[in-house]
C-alpha cells in the first residue's frame, strides 16, 4: 500500500512537470489559425528577423568553433596554473544573467569607453549592429561548445594520444588525425547547443544591438517587440518557428550524444 502511494505521488508530480512543459506549447500552437501563421511568414519584418537570427547564429557557431576548441583542448589535456580560473570563466556566462552580460558588453564596446572609442576610431562600430549581435550571442553561447568539446576530449583514452606521439606524430598531427575525429560527436553536440542558445538569445542581444527593425531585430527580440505592441499573431509565428528550431536541434543533440556514448 505504502509502495503504491509512493509510486502514485511520483507519477502525480511527474504529471505536473509534463503539464508545465506541454500546456504552454499547446497554448502557443492553438492560439491562432494555420492560415494566419502562413500570412505572417510573408511579412518583411518577420522574414528579416528570421534572416538576421539565422545569419548571426550561424556565424556565432563558426566563431565558437575557432575560439572554443583550443580552449576545450587546453582544459581537457593540460594541467597548468590558473586552470581553475579559466574553467570558472568558461562557466560564468552560463550563470550570468544575459542582461548583465549585455550591459557589460555595452559599456565595453560603447563610445564612452576607451576600448569602444578605439574601435570606433578604427571604423569598427559594434553597438547597434549585426556585429554587436554576434558578439553578444558568442559571449553567452560559446561555453556550451567549450564544455561539450572538453568532455569529448577528456573521454578519449590518454594512451591513444600517447600511441600517436610514440609513432612519430607531432602534437598538431595527433590533434588533427586522432583527437578531432574522436571528439567530433561531442563537438557536433556543442555546436548544436551553441546554435540553439545563440538563436534564442534575447537579453544581451537587445542591450548591445537594440531593437531596430530590419537591422538588428532578431527572432526573440521581434517576439518581444510584437507582443508588446499588440502584434500577437506575428509573435506566435516567430515563436513557433523558434520552437521548431529548438526541437530539431534537441533531436540532433540527443542523437549525437547517443552516438558518442553508444
Amino acid at each position: 500500500m505504502k509502495k503504491l502511494s509512493f509510486d502514485t505521488a511520483i507519477s502525480f508530480i511527474t504529471g505536473i512537470f509534463v503539464c508545465l512543459i506541454v500546456l504552454p506549447m499547446f497554448a502557443l500552437f492553438t492560439a491562432t489559425s494555420f492560415g494566419e501563421l502562413i500570412n505572417q511568414f510573408g511579412s518583411p519584418l518577420v522574414l528579416s528577423a528570421i534572416a538576421i537570427s539565422l545569419e548571426t547564429s550561424l556565424i556565432v557557431v563558426l566563431l565558437a568553433l575557432c575560439l572554443g576548441i583550443p580552449v576545450a583542448y587546453l582544459l581537457a589535456m593540460k594541467d597548468f596554473k590558473g586552470k581553475e580560473i579559466l574553467d570558472t570563466l568558461v562557466d560564468l556566462p552560463i550563470c550570468m544573467p544575459p542582461l548583465v552580460a549585455g550591459l557589460a558588453l555595452l559599456i565595453l564596446l560603447g563610445g564612452n569607453n576607451k576600448f569602444g572609442s578605439m574601435l570606433s576610431n578604427c571604423g569598427i562600430d559594434l553597438i547597434f549592429s549585426k556585429k554587436g549581435i554576434i558578439i553578444a550571442q558568442l559571449f553567452v553561447s560559446m561555453p556550451f561548445l567549450i564544455k561539450s568539446a572538453r568532455g569529448a576530449f577528456e573521454s578519449i583514452n590518454k594512451n591513444v594520444t600517447n600511441a600517436s606521439l610514440t609513432l612519430g606524430a607531432s602534437k598538431f598531427y595527433t590533434f588533427k588525425k586522432v583527437l578531432l575525429p574522436l571528439a567530433k560527436n561531442g563537438i557536433y553536440a556543442g555546436m548544436v547547443m551553441t546554435w540553439a542558445r545563440a538563436l534564442g538569445e534575447f537579453g544581451a542581444t537587445s542591450m548591445v544591438a537594440g531593437c531596430i527593425p530590419l537591422k538588428t531585430e532578431t527572432m526573440p527580440v521581434a517576439i518581444y517587440q510584437n507582443a508588446m505592441s499588440g502584434e500577437l499573431t506575428s509573435s506566435i509565428a516567430i515563436a513557433l518557428l523558434l520552437l521548431v528550431f529548438s526541437f530539431t536541434s534537441l533531436l540532433i543533440f540527443k542523437s549525437r550524444v547517443r552516438g558518442q556514448t553508444g
Binding site: 600517447n162 610514440t166 609513432l167 606524430a169 586522432v178 575525429p181
Partner: protein, 385 residues
C-alpha cells in the same frame, strides 16, 4: 641501440615513484621489468618514451641523450597495456599510421602493411575496426603498428595481461621470435614471473621505485638476492637462521623463525658469506621440498622437519601444499602423481642441503658443493638443472 637510465627520479604529489634509478640495457637485449603494481615499471617505460618527464637524471638511447626530446623524436615503438588502437581507424590504417606520419609513399605503405599483417596472420582483419577484434588480434595489431616504423627501441607495457593462457603462450613465442629476428632492444613490463622467464634475456625486479635485482631469469630464480625478490618469484619459504657450525662438508644452521615452537637445525651447503654465529635468511623453492610419511634411514642426506599438512591447492600439474612445522609454515609444490597425503596428516618435510640458498642482499657466488636437482616445473627446467 642500448638504453641507459642514469639516476632517474620521479615523484607524483610528493610521493617518490622512481628513486635515483640506474639501469643499463644492452643493444638487442630483451629486458623484462618485473614487479608488483605500483613498483614504478610503467613509469620507467614512460620516461624512456618521453611520455613522462623525469624530475632528475638522464635517459640515453645509444649515445643520444634524449632526456629533453619529445616522444615523437625518440624513435621508439610502444605497445600499451590496453593496446590503444585508434578506434576510428581500421586495422590497416592503424598499422599504416606511423608510415603516414613520415609521409611514406602510399604504394610502399600498402606493401609494408600487407607484409606485417601477414607476419602475424591477421590479413583478413585489415578492414575491421578495433572493437571488432579479439584481445589477441588487438595485441598483434598494436605490436606491428609499433614495429612497422622500425624503431630503435621497442617498449611493451604488460601487453599480454588481458590474454587467455593459450593466446598468451602463442603470442609470447611470436613476440620473442619477432624480437630476435629484428634484433631490436626491447623493454617489457610485467608482473607475471612466467612471462619474465619465457621472454627475458635479463630481468629487473622493481620494488617501490628501486631495482632490487637485475639478473638473467635462471639466476634470478635460483639466486634471489633479497627477501622481496624471493617472495615475488614464488619462493615463499624464508628461513631466518643462525649459522652454528661450518665444516668441510657444509654448514649447520639453526632456524629461528618467529612462531616456531622450538629451534630446528638444518644442514646446508657452505656459502662464502657464511660465518659462524652470523644470522642470515635462507630461501627454499617450494619445488625443492618433498613430503614423506616416514622418517627412513635411507634419507640420511636430507633435512627432515616434522609437520602437519594444513592446506593443499591445485596448481596445474602439481599441488601446492602448506605444512605447519610447529608454528612455522612451509610451502611445497609436489607433482600430482606423487601426492597422496590428506589434510591434517603428519608428514616429514624433506629437502637436500643444497636446497636452501642465502638471501644475502647482494649477488651470491654459487655454492661450493655440487647442485642437486629436484626439478619438476618450468621454472626449474629454465634454471638449467
Amino acid at each position: 641501440m642500448g638504453i641507459a637510465l642514469k639516476k632517474i627520479s620521479k615523484s607524483y604529489n610528493g610521493q617518490a615513484v622512481l628513486k635515483n634509478l640506474n639501469l643499463e640495457i644492452n643493444r638487442g637485449e630483451f629486458h623484462v621489468l618485473l614487479g608488483p603494481s605500483g613498483g614504478g615499471k610503467t613509469t620507467i617505460l614512460s620516461v624512456i618514451a618521453g611520455l613522462i618527464r623525469q624530475d632528475n637524471g638522464d635517459v640515453l638511447i645509444g649515445k643520444r641523450n634524449v632526456s629533453n626530446l619529445s616522444p615523437e623524436k625518440r624513435k621508439i615503438g610502444f605497445v600499451f597495456q590496453d593496446y590503444a588502437l585508434f578506434p576510428h581507424l581500421t586495422v590497416f590504417d592503424n598499422v599504416a599510421y606511423g608510415l603516414r606520419v613520415k609521409n611514406v609513399e602510399e604504394s610502399e605503405i600498402n606493401q609494408k602493411v600487407e607484409y606485417y599483417l601477414s607476419k602475424v596472420s591477421i590479413e583478413k582483419e585489415k578492414g575491421k575496426f578495433s572493437r571488432q577484434l579479439s584481445g589477441g588480434q588487438k595485441q598483434r595489431v598494436a605490436l606491428i603498428r609499433a614495429l612497422i616504423t622500425e624503431p630503435e627501441i621497442l617498449l611493451l607495457d604488460e601487453p599480454m595481461s588481458n590474454l587467455d593462457a593459450l593466446t598468451k603462450e602463442t603470442t609470447g613465442n611470436e613476440l620473442k621470435t619477432i624480437q630476435q629476428e629484428m634484433g631490436m632492444t626491447t623493454v617489457y613490463v610485467t608482473h607475471n614471473q612466467d612471462e619474465a622467464i619465457l621472454l627475458g634475456d635479463r630481468v629487473s625486479v622493481l620494488n617501490h621505485g628501486e631495482i632490487e635485482q637485475i639478473e638473467a631469469p635462471d639466476e634470478l630464480f635460483y639466486h634471489p638476492k633479497t627477501e622481496f625478490v624471493a617472495r615475488f618469484v614464488g619462493a615463499k619459504n624464508i628461513l631466518k637462521v643462525r649459522i652454528i657450525e661450518i665444516n668441510q662438508y657444509g654448514a649447520v644452521a639453526q632456524v629461528n623463525n618467529s612462531g616456531l615452537g622450538q629451534p630446528v637445525q638444518i644442514r646446508v651447503n657452505k656459502y662464502p658469506i657464511f660465518e659462524k654465529g652470523k644470522e642470515i635468511n635462507l630461501c627454499i623453492h617450494p619445488e625443492k621440498i618433498s613430503l614423506k610419511r616416514e622418517n627412513k634411514a635411507s634419507d640420511v642426506n636430507l633435512n627432515r622437519i616434522r609437520g602437519k599438512l594444513i592446506n593443499k591447492t591445485n596448481n596445474g600439474n602439481g599441488l601446492k601444499a602448506t605444512i605447519d612445522t610447529n608454528g612455522m609454515e612451509l610451502h611445497a609444490t609436489i607433482p600430482k602423481d606423487l601426492f597422496d597425503f590428506k589434510i591434517h596428516e603428519d608428514v616429514w618435510v624433506c629437502f637436500a642441503p643444497d636446497a636452501p640458498h642465502p638471501l644475502c642482499g647482494k649477488k651470491c657466488r654459487a655454492p661450493e658443493a655440487g647442485r642437486r636437482c629436484l626439478v619438476t616445473t618450468q621454472v626449474d627446467r629454465l634454471l638449467g638443472c
